[in-house]
């Protein structure tokens, strides 16, 4: 394979990738159904989620750790009422350490989880499978 062909293929793919990256990061991810729930508190909660490395045990959209439950819809889950979540954040559990969170931090984490809850569903429980292997996702679990 001549060097000019190799270079042409490489740079064509790379340029396509740059355009693709731009489109994915703009139009491809523009819709955020929870947008109206994203406020200063939720933004602070998001950084706390990282500060306490919650992702090492919990998932959002099935991405993260495996020790604890997926928190995407923790606030709307039948077993996860807000008061229950607040109690766990306050004291920890047998598996989850007590991080000694302040009330302000708990409010911020709950605001963040509330925002995430409105963005979509995970795990997907309302679906239909198509013949080509694709899946149509329902609105909410």
């Amino acid at each position: 394979m001549p060097i000019t062909v190799k270079r042409s293929v490489f740079f064509s793919l790379f340029l396509t990738f740059l355009v693709y990256t731009w489109v994915v990061s703009t139009a491809g991810t523009e819709v955020d159904e929870g947008k109206s729930f994203y406020n200063v508190e939720a933004a602070a909660g998001k950084l706390l989620f990282q500060k306490y490395n919650c992702g090492s045990c919990h998932q959002l959209y099935g991405l993260g750790g495996y020790m604890g439950p997926d928190l995407t819809n923790a606030l709307s889950d039948k077993s996860g009422k807000e008061a229950y979540i607040r109690a766990i954040l306050k004291t920890g559990t047998a598996k989850m350490p007590d991080f000694k969170l302040t009330d302000k931090e708990i409010n911020e984490l709950v605001a963040f989880l509330n925002y995430i809850d409105k963005t979509g569903a995970s795990p997907v429980l309302d679906y239909s499978i198509n013949y080509d292997g694709t899946v149509d996702v329902g609105k909410k679990k």
Binding site: G28, L63, Y66
Partner: protein, 468 residues
């Protein structure tokens, strides 16, 4: 006699193997904590997991980079343009690594998956990688010859690691951070390509080793190796979205990724078609310790590619996503493919730089089998646990806690096989670390000892060959 310049490569390799030992140890502790949360509670799971992941990622990078540093002058007749840059790279890597470990032990986080450390620590990583990248390209372009495919792969891995690493920090911009759908999509887009970029470094090393061991230049030149490289490159660029099939992004992103992922069927078909030929090559090269690791990696490529293809189908991904099948995929690839190839590289490099004694060789061979059988058990229990979890949560719509109780026995078996993995890895790594330290000490201070050790090892290798 080797040049003193080869020392940096060996030091990178040595640090890589120490990282692997640490990573495997923390992985084992984490697996036990998963089923027995009170185990070693002073270092909680949320600290152990990033310690495990970061050290294993360090193993991959340190050893791949160490190999490239060593092979360039030694086998490709390319001199490094800047020796100072190499040393600075090493120093920055070590200092940053130590700082990251301290942060994790102290519970100082702030980042996210893979890079949980405080974000400012990304700066020295970028600087060190720039030093490496600039040195690589300046050195590689200083010599006029047709690059073999592995040099393309290394160049791609270096360039795209930098690109995707920076991309994974886009969350620091409010434009990305304030829209979770965009944030999580961009995060996993970058991670998909990032693992692709380190795979380029590792697979490039694998092809280099195959070429050298088999003494067959066609492995790294010609139309087919480059077609396969470009196919891998396309998957690196566009095939990441199976991580985020069910994030509410634009549907075309997942359809495109689904289509791209299925092109890997071509690689799968090629492995099956070449199976008989590969078997002959394997039998011919089986006596070579390096080549034995390459053979193992080829078998694990087959298994992991089959799994990757399956979980790239959205209808299957629906049940496997967020379950332990994803862990099996990650572990199977990291240990079965990357680690096997990198072990082959370690053995190849250290046999060249120093010598592996017959006793060390026996330990490594035993470790090889323990590692592979333990990995098979580890992989299988994760697949079972993940399948049960996916079925009970998605089909039966059971709660998380109920499901976890059901899969706990499989997770105990997974943790137990993790101990086997640690034992197997240690049996390979500890002798190799000793060889590496000897290489640095003996080669550069007392070369006459090396000559004697190498002579005895050559006699042993000849006897082994006759027995086989």
């Amino acid at each position: 006699m080797l040049e003193r310049k080869s020392k940096t490569g060996i030091i990178f390799m040595t640090l890589a193997m120490i990282s692997l030992l640490g990573g495997a140890l923390f992985g084992c502790i984490g697996a036990i904590q998963f089923v027995y949360p009170d185990f070693l509670s002073s270092v909680a799971f949320f600290k152990i997991r990033p310690l495990h992941v970061s050290l294993v990622v360090s193993w991959i990078f340190f050893s791949a980079v160490g190999g490239i540093y060593y092979y360039f002058p030694r086998y490709l007749d390319i001199s490094w343009r800047s020796e100072i840059s190499k040393k600075l790279h090493l120093i920055l890597y070590v200092l940053t690594g130590v700082a990251i470990l301290i942060c994790f032990f102290l519970g100082k986080f702030g980042g996210r998956e893979y890079w949980e450390f405080p974000p400012w620590l990304a700066i020295p990583i970028v600087v060190s990688w720039l030093l490496f990248g600039i040195n690589y390209f300046r050195s590689a372009f200083s010599k006029t010859f047709t690059w073999p495919v592995y040099m393309w792969m290394w160049a791609t891995g270096i360039g795209f690691f930098l690109f995707t690493f920076l991309e994974s920090y886009l969350w620091m911009l409010p434009f990305v951070r304030d829209n979770h759908v965009r944030d999580i999509t961009m995060q996993w887009k970058s991670y998909g390509a990032l693992t692709g970029s380190w795979n380029m470094l590792v697979y490039g090393t694998g092809i280099f080793l195959m070429e050298r061991i088999q003494k067959d230049g066609s492995i790294a030149h010609g139309r087919l190796p480059f077609m396969m490289y470009f196919l891998g490159f396309i998957n690196l660029l566009f095939g990441w979205a199976h991580h985020t099939y069910f994030v509410p992004m634009a549907p075309w992103i997942r359809y495109l990724a689904y289509g791209i992922s299925m092109t890997e069927l071509l690689i799968f078909a090629r492995i099956i078609m070449n199976w008989k030929e590969s078997l002959n090559v394997f039998q011919r090269g089986y006596h070579d310790l390096s080549f034995r690791f390459i053979i193992a990696s080829e078998i694990w490529i087959f298994i992991n590619l089959a799994l990757a293809l399956l979980i790239s189908v959205p209808a299957i991904n629906l049940f496997t996503h967020g379950t332990h099948i994803t862990v099996a995929h990650a572990m199977g690839s990291t240990i079965g493919i990357n680690t096997m190839i990198l072990f082959a590289s370690c053995v190849f490099l250290l046999k060249d730089a120093s010598s592996i004694t017959p006793a060390q060789s026996k330990w490594i061979r035993s470790g090889f089998w323990i590692l592979n059988y333990s990995l098979l058990a580890f992989f299988t229990f994760l697949i079972i646990a993940g399948s049960v979890k996916g079925y009970r949560i998605v089909v039966l719509k059971e709660d998380f806690m109920v499901t976890m109780n059901v899969i706990t026995p499989y997770l105990k078996l997974f943790a137990f096989s993790g101990i086997g993995l640690l034992i197997g890895l240690s049996m390979i790594v500890i002798p190799l670390i000793r060889v590496a330290i000897n290489a640095v000490v003996i080669q550069f201070r007392k070369p006459e000892i090396l000559v004697a050790v190498r002579a005895s090892a050559e006699v042993y290798a000849e006897e082994e060959l006759n027995v086989n």
